[in-house]
Amino acid sequence: MVAARYQTAVTLYPYQKVADQAASTPARHPVVIIGGGPVGLALALDLGQRGTPALVLDDHEGPGLGSKAICFAKRTLDIATRLGAGAAMVEKGVVWSLGKVFHGDGKVFEFDLLPEDGHRNPAFINLQQPYFETFLFDAIRRAQAGGAPIEVRGGNRVTDVRPAEDQVGLTVDTPDGPYAVEADWVIACDGARSPTRDMLGLSFDGRVFEDSFLIADVKMQAPFPTERWFWFDPPFKGAGQSALLHKQPDDIWRIDFQLGWDIDREEELKPQRICARVDEMLSAQTGEVPEYALEWTSIYTFQCRRMQAFRHGRVLFAGDSAHQVSPFGARGANSGVQDAENLAWKLDLMCNGLAEDALLDTYAEEREYAADENILNSTRSTDFMTPKSEISQVFRNAVLELAARAPFARPLVNSGRLSVPCVYDGLTLFGEDHLDGPPATRPGTPAVDCKLGQTFLLERLHPGFTLLAIDADTPEQIEAGGLLARRLELSAQTNPLLAERYLGNAPSAVYLIRPDQHIVARWPTFDHEAVKRASHIAIGKAAPCP
């Protein structure tokens, strides 16, 4: 029996009986992913496209009901594009870049996440999470049809995890009863309440914020522009300390009210009570209450916390199971998808015997570093939005008052620092920077996109390692320490944007770029020994002696 823990939005992977359930000895799988949310599906897709078998076990048969994560950032879209799901997301999603910040009755300022030229994907789209998961799953189906070894088993709940030295044993419950499987690697993508984490008795420490937020997603045809509107101390009745209005696809609007800590949840979730709040907010904008319907409502409190270690031998944690942040800044699902892409190529090399165990330690190193950055940003936003003392309230209001009349104060206003990918400055797998080039493409950064005629740079990068040669002579490919990097040859002579982003003042450049599109090292010209050295470093192997 597998009892539902939540309602699903749509059925994507209905339970089906499989041969493993009748096997007399447990079947062995290279990679078992627990949880088919955005992180688990992205990981399975990435692995499968690289040819490494991925088995996803999910205790439901599709994404959970409710919009949940609604804001997907450019890096996530770049990853989804690489995986073949990005175009559908951007087409369905609401693209936005304008935001307005209000304090009480007055507008403090507005911002434009000025789209830079030459990127395939926008800075942000709003898209309900079930769509995001559905588009990933559609891409999985297409990959499966093309022979990618991906399997998603719905109605399969992992009830026991037994890590051993050379494998991990799993007990899986199904509508037809339990069965056992073994995995070389288990990746727990089972969310903030991760049952896997609990089964292994691992802790999840951090800070609980004493605040409650009410989400009301309403469906209406309203004349509001596609902008993010955020109020500190909203002037409309019952809105609490802050409020947010943001558009999603299908004429759905996300409305968020910050209600404080000491509330009666049950009472506040009553539709008539929610509607009273929404009425006040909407009529304050248009003078009347437009027709609308409540689509999805929820009250959440949040924590900023993370596991001490994302890797426990053959069990690794990714996404919310490993780290949890406040929703301000859209750093939950977005960072989880980056976990998945960080892990996919490393697991792929491991499963193919091309890397040593230490490579998986760097997954933990890099993504723990990223989680700390996300938690820091998210905590700072929360401290601004919910001042914790009288004096922090005084400073917060001083910033808001000044921001309305002095530009210098606007960067201090913090209603969420929107998710940008982490730069792995100085971490183990990154090498030298001998180019004196633009900081935006230094080692550790994710490669910056750039228009190349009819295509874009990120799409031209190889699935494995890329040796990017800009007006430089390099071999077609280079093999070192088990790593194969293939050349991508470009000229910046008629592409000033490429020169600006990758050359700076240098006449030529050679970049070594990872499968997850992060830059390993860069040089002004091709130096065989230097590239070999960086190639070893990039997969966690000791560099050969010079």
């Binding site: 004096i391 005084v394 400073f395 209001n397 001083a398 910033v399 008052e401 000044l402 002095a406 210098f408 104060a409 201090l412």
Partner: protein, 60 residues
């Protein structure tokens, strides 16, 4: 330029009077708000994070 803790204001008595005048007749809350704005404006003018850090330390 490092943080200076040596006299640097011309006409110190005049400045002090202007500072107090700015708070004249204000409630505690309004005065606190004025001080906060003033700190933010001065901090932005200084800009240099090292100097600001030293100033925070010196004020403790």
């Amino acid at each position: 330029m490092p943080l200076t803790l040596h006299p640097n204001i011309t006409d110190p008595d005049g400045f002090y009077q202007e500072l107090l005048d700015a708070h004249e007749g204000k409630t505690k809350a309004d005065s606190d708000a004025l001080n906060a704005r003033l700190i933010l404006i001065l901090a932005n003018h200084i800009g240099d994070r090292a100097v600001l850090r030293d100033a925070l330390e010196a004020a403790k």
